[in-house]
Symmetry: C3
Subunit: 211 residues, 3 copies
């Protein structure tokens, strides 16, 4: 339990910084926001998914809100984006990779937290996915974009796969650190393949997205 907890912490703080940075940079690209907006949107991207997860789990106050380390890391990611925004655009590729790592870490840590609270299979998978994509969805709503996770690309699906792997392993009695790493790797690889080959989730039959 204690090892699991400290694994959680490391996973979550790493993902938190990556998400805050990438979330704030996305906000800067799309909307004309000031320092309040950049930092707020970075923090929403980083912490939003975990907060929604904790509300659904009745694990309130939310872990990431109660712990000053999460708040500091998230605010720091937003501030770095605010100060270095223009220059970081050159780092678009590494930041995309960092974001994929955050996605993988959040999907797994979110699903594991669900399991720790005794929820069922589907619920743990949904919680992992929400932890991974919820913050970016919140940010997109705040800057008046249709959340990209709902329209194209492979973003929710890798998160879902990572969560399924870790939850299934737990059901088979095998949820341990190596399994968590494997589950995160599944999510990360699918996400990177999606970026590399520009893959989309299936569109509705008859829609002309590809035309």
């Amino acid at each position: 339990m204690s090892t699991a907890s400290s694994t959680f912490l490391v996973l979550d703080l790493t993902g938190t910084f990556a998400f805050a940075l990438n979330g704030a940079l996305t906000a800067l690209r799309v909307a004309r926001v000031d320092i309040v907006g950049v930092v707020t949107l970075g923090m929403c991207t980083a912490l939003g998914g975990g907060i929604i997860r904790d509300i659904l789990l009745n694990a309130l106050p939310p872990a990431t809100f109660s712990d000053w380390r999460y708040l500091t890391v998230a605010a720091g990611g937003g501030l770095v984006a605010f100060v270095f925004g223009g220059h970081l655009n050159r780092l678009a590729k590494p930041i995309l990779i960092l974001d994929a790592a955050g996605l993988s870490l959040f999907a797994v840590s979110g699903a594991l937290k669900g399991l720790q609270h005794g929820v069922g299979f589907s619920q743990a998978v949904i919680l992992g996915t929400i932890t991974a994509v919820g913050g970016g969805t919140l940010r997109d709503v705040l800057i008046r974009e249709i959340p990209s996770v709902l329209t194209s690309g492979l973003y929710a699906i890798p998160a879902l796969l990572g969560a399924v792997v870790v939850v299934a392993a737990d059901r088979l009695g095998a949820a341990d650190l190596p399994i968590s790493i494997a589950a995160a790797a599944v999510c990360f690889i699918v996400r990177m393949l999606g970026i590399r080959y520009d893959l989309d989730a299936p569109a509705p039959p008859g829609s002309k997205r590809g035309a």
Copy 2:
């Protein structure tokens, strides 16, 4: 209590499917969404109102999230919309009627759940209304539409009326299954009259909506 609970379940599952189907079809019409978007938006429409209600009631984790039957029925409604979307447009009228039934069921079951948790008159009425219109509002925000419930038509008002009837009856000591059905009927009839005669809720004085 047990009868009331099982009545709740039947009411809620029926409404859940209708809302998921109609919510996903609305998303398909308005936005260019993929399978993740269609199913997510269907589930948000179906489960969102009840989840907001349960947060406000401190009845966490939310009933519809904890119970796999709700998740399955809601995901099923979204998938049906995804697969048969184009063909279902011919069924617009029956689906509108099904949605009105869902509205009525959710308004009544939401208000009753509030009463079971001991909230006051206004709170129970608000909770019934939120249960009925909250999910659709959430979907509209996610697909970047101003929620239609705020702008025109009769949607929140029938739900409010249905909730008032069942809460008032409870205050008079008469809340029972026949009363619940009567309250849902009030909501359903007002909603259908609103559709049939294209009625709108009152616009602000001086606005030129009718011109």
Copy 3:
């Protein structure tokens, strides 16, 4: 504790009316909404920040939802805006002042409620700020505006300053009614200076907002 509670009540009800009125008027200016929309958006503006605060604090059901006085005052503010909307535009200046007063009161009362629940320094400051700006943010999302608090003007920053003053005073053992009034005054003065001299929060380096 009892004095603190009754101070809370007066602060909160005053701010609630101001926010509902101003929030509903903003909705009327920006979107074509009906009576349901005006009253709902007024209530969201007035109650939304406190509800988000109470979710994060695990102080559910939310205080403003459980207490009929908040609901009545908020609905009343929305209805006044609906009925007198056109005429109130002449009162834009007094309403802006009233809104600044609401901002100040909410920032302080929100931070104090956080402290009463034993949260840390940063959390109390964030909760005060969210109480002050959360409702308006929710309203802007619902009417499909990018929340103005994220883009320009001084709105979140005065609230943050007011919250910092009251939380810092509490840490120094000095949190009492006069300190609360001083903290609210700091927020109010900075907000009014921002309006008077058209001040903005810092924009990202290299952005051409001023050009």
